[in-house]
């Protein structure tokens, strides 16, 4: 049996299945090997035994093995010596897929049923227990066993019977089971149902407002300001219905909350004569809701006025009409030059420098610009001979250096005094902003981020801000205090930019059917008129730049004219903002003539502007004139040469209930709707950006101006060496100055030098 023994040993070793062994000693053995291969993987794919022992049962069967060996062959083969006694499986689970373990488990389950019903064979039981024991090994990491996990997965599948094609999602199911198992047990604190603070505040606000306005009892009518805006208040839900017909709008819930919020705004502010939902602006962090309001006395609204957070930097911007604050932080070219001149020509700086020139104090005084120009050094040198004790002045190299220094210094002084460079930029005339409630600042805008938060009034925009907003492209973030990084520099914070954007968008995109609005200077405002009459009388209404208009009651537009694709029936009811940044042109020449008294002139500016133009003739800048109010939008020109307005009708089926809308392509998001009953409303839902025909390119900066010559005050000199310094100090010791600073000593030589110097001074 020795050869066979060896063969079996090899069989479990690495050279398993090599045919040469089976030929000679045990020719029948090959048959057995194949069979046992098939039978084995049922239990475990790993090598069953790592030990060197030879399973005797196997050998016995291999000897017998003419017929195929099944599991039941083991029956009666002697229980005692079955298999080896070592641990059946020491290896880890083979890295097989989960499907494999699943099939194994189901087989194990079947086996267990078999075990229960029949008195099964001990070997079978043993294999099953071994497999089960393997499955029930508890993971040292997670603390659960594969057995529990698989049964959980199967239970989940059987319970939910979902999803279909469950085998495709097996990994996910398994992952989910694991994830849910390891959820942290919630303690008492976590267990409390938690609603975040903003949501809760929102609900509280809504609830309060609801209680305040929803009850129509007597006390509700006593709310201050109630009914004040009855004429000017919008029916936002109806508006939303019309907007929905032309495929824009907001959710109805939001519209209702908005209406509630606007009611809250107007209820306590009697100076707001009209409040209109202007639109919603989508920004990157928060969104803005914008309400356009007419304020009859602007001074009252200061409480709501938005103030930038960094008040120390721009305190002027808080003020009402002025608002020239922010740009004062950015020094202009003139200011920079003045500042530089002050620094350079400062006597302190110059005297400080002159002290370093190594000259005696009397000579130092000559360097200062206050005195006469210093005399050029004589041939013998700059220094008086007697001043330097025993040294022969004028011939030593130090004196030559000093003379060169002096010459340099003198030339620099002369240049500085005579040719100090001046900025070649024209001093811009500050164009005064139009006061609150007039011109470009006629509309007051209240904004808020979240409905329920207090509304904030934006300060009026200056022409500089409006023009700055025209020159840049900046994404709004939703925070009014946000900084803007752009070139050219925008004078202000995001709130100022927002106001400028709203002003521009209003001027560009507020249109209405002809005849719906009429100017305020029209004598009989509220009487219904025929369309023809209105058209005639519109011609001479508001002065230029004034776009205070009033809606006509009982307006009935003709449907044919509304849907005319030429758009001649739709007119602007907001004034164009001139390139100057104002609605009413302001003559910059006047400022030059009048000098400083610019502030009080705003009221009389219109007349005077004309006067000056008349006087100066061609000398002055050309007067900018916008188109008159109620100009048809068919005359507009878009930058890309395509149609600036797009007409849309709501329904192609029910023409009787049609809603007509005109969409602005220059200000994407701006729409006006008009129903057949004559309800007209403008709304803006967009991101606040004007349509850009081409990509934005930042401005090239202007040519660099000439710098003043680099003088000795910023020129860098090489540091003196220790010896030079020492020499200089020794020289100074003749004066009192030498006592100020002890000589530098760092070695013995220096120490000796110091001693010598001390002796020297003692001698003096």
């Amino acid at each position: 049996m020795d050869p066979g023994y060896d063969a079996n040993q090899v069989m479990y070793g690495e050279d398993y299945g090599e045919p040469a062994y089976y030929d000679e000693p045990l020719p029948e053995d090959s048959n057995y090997v194949e069979e046992s291969e098939e039978a084995d993987p049922d239990a475990c794919t790993c090598d069953p035994c790592d030990c060197d022992c030879n399973p005797p049962g196997a050998q016995k069967k291999s000897i017998r093995g003419s017929k195929p060996l099944m599991d039941d062959e083991y029956e009666g083969e002697g229980e005692g010596d079955l298999g080896c006694t070592c641990d059946p499986c020491e290896c880890e689970t083979p890295p097989g897929s989960r499907e494999k373990t699943m099939t194994m488990l189901t087989e194990a389950v079947e086996e267990s049923e078999m075990v229960d019903t029949e008195v099964s064979h001990p070997y079978q039981l043993d294999e099953f227990t071994r497999a089960k024991a393997f499955f029930m090994n508890t993971s040292t990491k997670s603390g659960i066993s594969l057995y529990d996990h698989l049964s959980d997965v199967i239970r989940k599948l059987l319970d939910e019977r979902a999803p279909t094609n469950a085998v495709d999602f097996l990994e996910e199911i398994s992952m989910n089971v694991k994830r849910y198992r390891f959820q942290q047990p919630k303690d008492v604190l976590q267990d409390v149902f938690y609603i975040s603070e903003p949501v809760l505040n929102d609900a509280r606000f809504l609830n309060d407002n609801w209680k305040q306005y929803a009850q129509w009892s007597d006390e509700a009518k006593e709310i201050p300001g109630e009914g004040f805006v009855a004429g000017g208040f919008q029916n936002l839900l109806r508006l939303q219905y019309y907007l929905e017909q032309v495929n824009i709008g907001l959710p109805r819930e939001e519209m209702f909350r908005l209406a509630l919020s606007i009611k809250d705004l107007t209820a306590n502010r009697p100076y707001i004569t009209k409040a209109r939902f202007w639109g919603k602006i989508f920004c990157s962090r928060k969104n803005y809701y914008v309400v356009e309001a007419d304020i009859n006395s602007p001074g009252n609204s200061d409480a709501d006025l938005w103030q930038p957070q960094e008040e120390s930097q721009n305190p002027e911007s808080v003020g009402g009409a002025g608002d020239a604050g922010p740009q004062e932080n950015i020094p202009g070219a003139q200011a920079t030059f003045e500042k530089a001149g002050n620094v350079v020509l400062n006597s302190d700086v110059l005297s400080a420098y002159s002290k370093t020139s190594g000259l005696p104090p009397e000579e130092q005084a000559n360097l200062l610009p206050k005195t006469k120009a210093p005399t050029p050094p004589s041939d013998g040198g700059l220094l008086g001979e007697g001043e330097w004790g025993g040294e022969d002045a004028g011939k030593s190299p130090e004196d030559a250096e000093a003379a060169a220094d002096f010459a340099k210094w003198q030339g620099y002084q002369e240049e500085l005094m005579t040719k100090f460079p001046t900025p070649n930029v024209e001093v811009e005339v500050e164009i005064p902003p139009e006061s609150d409630g007039t011109g470009a600042n006629r509309r007051a805008f209240y904004v808020c981020n979240i409905l329920g938060q207090p509304w904030v009034l934006l300060p009026p925009a200056s022409p500089k801000q409006i023009n700055g907003a025209r020159q840049i492209r900046w994404g709004l973030t939703g925070e009014l205090d946000g900084n803007i990084r752009s070139f050219p520099n925008f004078p202000g914070k995001e709130g100022h930019l927002l106001k400028a954007m709203l002003t521009r968008a209003s001027a560009g995109s507020l249109v209405s059917p002809k005849g719906f609005y009429r100017g305020n200077s029209y004598p009989s405002e509220y009487e219904g008129e025929d369309d023809e009459d209105i058209e005639e009388e519109e011609e001479s209404m508001n002065p230029p730049g004034d776009d205070k208009v009033t809606a006509v009651k009982k307006y009935r537009p003709p449907m044919d004219s509304l849907t005319n694709p030429k758009l001649t029936f739709w007119v602007h009811h907001a004034c164009l903002i001139l390139p100057q940044g104002r609605n009413v042109w302001w003559n910059p020449l006047r400022a030059k003539k009048r000098g400083d008294e610019t502030e009080d002139e705003e009221e009389e500016e219109e007349d005077e502007g004309e006067e000056y133009e008349g006087e100066d003739g061609n000398m002055g800048p050309t007067r900018e004139v916008g188109p008159p109010l109620f100009t048809p939008i068919s005359t507009d020109v878009a930058p890309d040469g395509k149609a600036p307005w797009t007409l849309q009708t709501s329904s192609s089926v029910f023409k009787e209930f049609q809603v007509v809308s005109v969409r602005s392509n220059t200000w994407p998001g701006s729409t006006v709707v008009c129903t057949i009953k004559g309800k007209v409303d403008n709304i803006y839902l967009g991101d606040g950006q004007k349509f850009a025909d081409r990509s934005y390119a930042p401005f090239m900066h202007e040519n660099v101006m000439r710098e003043y010559r680099i003088g000795p005050e910023i020129e860098e000199f090489p540091d003196p060496s220790v010896e030079e310094e020492q020499k200089w100090l020794n020289r100074l010791e003749m004066d009192e100055l030498g006592d100020i600073e002890p000589p530098f000593v760092d070695n013995e030589e220096g120490y000796e030098e110091m001693e010598e110097a001390g002796e020297y001074s003692d001698e003096d």
Partner: protein, 335 residues
Amino acid sequence: MDWRGMNFALDYLASTGTVFSVEQRVAIQSSLTILQQDNKFNYVHFLGKICGTERDYYFVCGIGKDYIKDRAYFYSINMGIDWVMLPLPNAGNIELGLACRGHFIGDPTADSETDIVPDNQDEIMEGDDWVTIKEEERLGATIAGIMNEVAIIPRGALIKSVNGLVTENKLFEGVPKVNATQFHSYYHLRRPENPWDRNIVVRADYNLSLDFLDSIACDLPIGCWSLQMDSLETTVFARSLYWPGFVAYHVMDTPRYGFIYIGTGKKNWDVPFMILPPPRAIKASVVEGGGDYQFDMGKETAEMPGEGGDFPYESGPDGRPYVPQELMDEEEEGN
């Protein structure tokens, strides 16, 4: 969004200004039913509309077995009644189409003028015209751009099975609130362009069957996406600065998500001028060693998203994605 769930989706999207009238919804849903039946699609997703000066283009995407690869695009110029298949743009047209000036008109046969000078000159010469393409080609390029750059889904909404098929994840339970406002939780709905490990390296809980797409956290510059929660803190809206008008929504902890584009169809190339630089603490999630990945630039024809294809305009001059120098320096300092 699939047309079956369009009503619900539009309810969620309404607070971003996206509303469709009842008549419009009915028309679109009926026509899309027919479209799906005719073309044997599994899903038909309504993608949005591009506003032209005369007419609007509505466009949809039919999806077959695979969410990423089996796609076909259709557009309509009569408010979603009749649908026309959109021709696939080639690589040159994509570049030209995104460089077009001005608005769409609404006429597929109209000429669109681009910002491109013929023959690679530096400036336009006297007598030369700008390169023009047909508006239908521009439409194809625009839709390809939208789908490639901004179409997003929350993480886990799609699952990649073992045989490589990308399907809807039936077990998707939504992104929890903690993760819902993070850029790492939203993936591009396109064939991934980043190296496959770029996305999983940044996740502790990565899962190869879920994290096979590009995350929008890799998009540059940082800040080109905006994630907002609504006032009730149930829904997250993602908006892209590159394509103003694109909105994606996801209702947290539910498998409801979708996106829509309603805009002018013009890509906003000015994003770098419009945002503040991110705080120094935030870094682009560019994984070390990602530079080994090579874009194959030599492709003759780029295909629609879903058919694969790399877009050369997304990358820097040397073929690698553009990374600002500051960020590169920071990474080196980090080493």
